[in-house]
């Protein structure tokens, strides 16, 4: 069974479009995350979200917004896509307590033309 899944795995779109990436976890975790990995492989946190707080990295443009319909899902919406948004986006989840491990999805490669 897939622990953290993302759809789609690949997304190619035109500048100016609006797109969404879906993320689901079946681990019963209470917190979910979105990370961006740029062309140089640098990974940076974008959002952290649980039912108590949303933490937004201050460097993330407000064109990006997380939406959580329930505890198992955290979708990423991107408005007015720009060339610089091209990257791999990873969803992850973790549980309070224990070893703080985060489980990652397979990533979504977004290409903006």
């Amino acid at each position: 069974d897939t622990a953290v899944s993302q759809t789609p795995k690949y997304l190619v779109t035109q500048m100016g479009n609006d797109k969404s990436i879906k993320c689901e976890q079946n681990l019963g975790h209470d917190t979910m995350y979105w990370y961006k990995q740029d062309s140089k492989k640098f990974l940076k946190i974008m959002f952290s979200y649980n039912n108590k707080e949303l933490i937004i990295n201050e460097t993330v443009p407000n064109r990006f917004s997380p939406k959580s319909p329930d505890k198992a899902h955290l979708n990423l919406h991107i408005n007015s896509l720009e060339l610089g948004d091209s990257a791999v986006y990873f969803c992850a989840s973790s549980q309070a307590g224990g070893n703080n491990e985060q489980f990652f999805g397979p990533g979504t490669r977004l290409t903006v033309l």
């Binding site: 917190t31 995350y33 990370y35 140089k40 492989k41 640098f42 990974l43 940076k44 946190i45 959002f47 952290s48 979200y49 649980n50 108590k52 707080e53 949303l54 933490i55 990295n57 791999v88 990873f90 992850a92 973790s94 309070a96 307590g97 070893n99 703080n100 491990e101 985060q102 990652f104 397979p106 990533g107 490669r109």
Partner: protein, 119 residues
């Protein structure tokens, strides 16, 4: 804010040899976790090993071990008996302990080290 530094963009090692990847970090916190993640060409992020800051004993997972020096804020990864399947990007990461106010904080990553295994 915390930072994680990996000073080796690329490392190369002969198969069956031992290699050490370096990582230093900066934080004012005392209760945190450190991680090494592996990212093969498939791009899946795989946890290799973790270390709790309050534990003095270095973590070990089979051929992987760490040298954790809390005072020096150093967290290196040693891979013994290197195998072709170890070839990947390796990322060092930091996270404040969730149970000590870390809340929903994400991981802070270093820029990664590309490990090449020579057959």
């Amino acid at each position: 804010a915390q930072t994680v530094t990996q000073s080796q963009p690329e490392m190369s090692v002969q198969e069956a040899e031992t290699v050490t990847l370096s990582c230093t970090y900066d934080t004012s916190e005392s209760d945190y976790y450190l991680f090494w993640y592996k990212q093969p060409p498939s791009r899946q992020m795989i946890l290799v090993i973790r270390q709790e800051a309050y534990k003095q004993q270095n973590a070990t997972e089979n051929r992987f071990s760490v040298n954790f020096q809390k005072a020096a804020k150093s967290f290196s990864l040693k891979i013994s008996d290197s195998q072709l399947g170890d070839a990947a990007m390796y990322f060092c990461a930091y996270r404040k302990n969730r149970d000590s106010g870390g809340g929903a904080d994400g991981l802070t990553f270093g820029k990664g080290t590309h490990l090449i295994i020579q057959p």
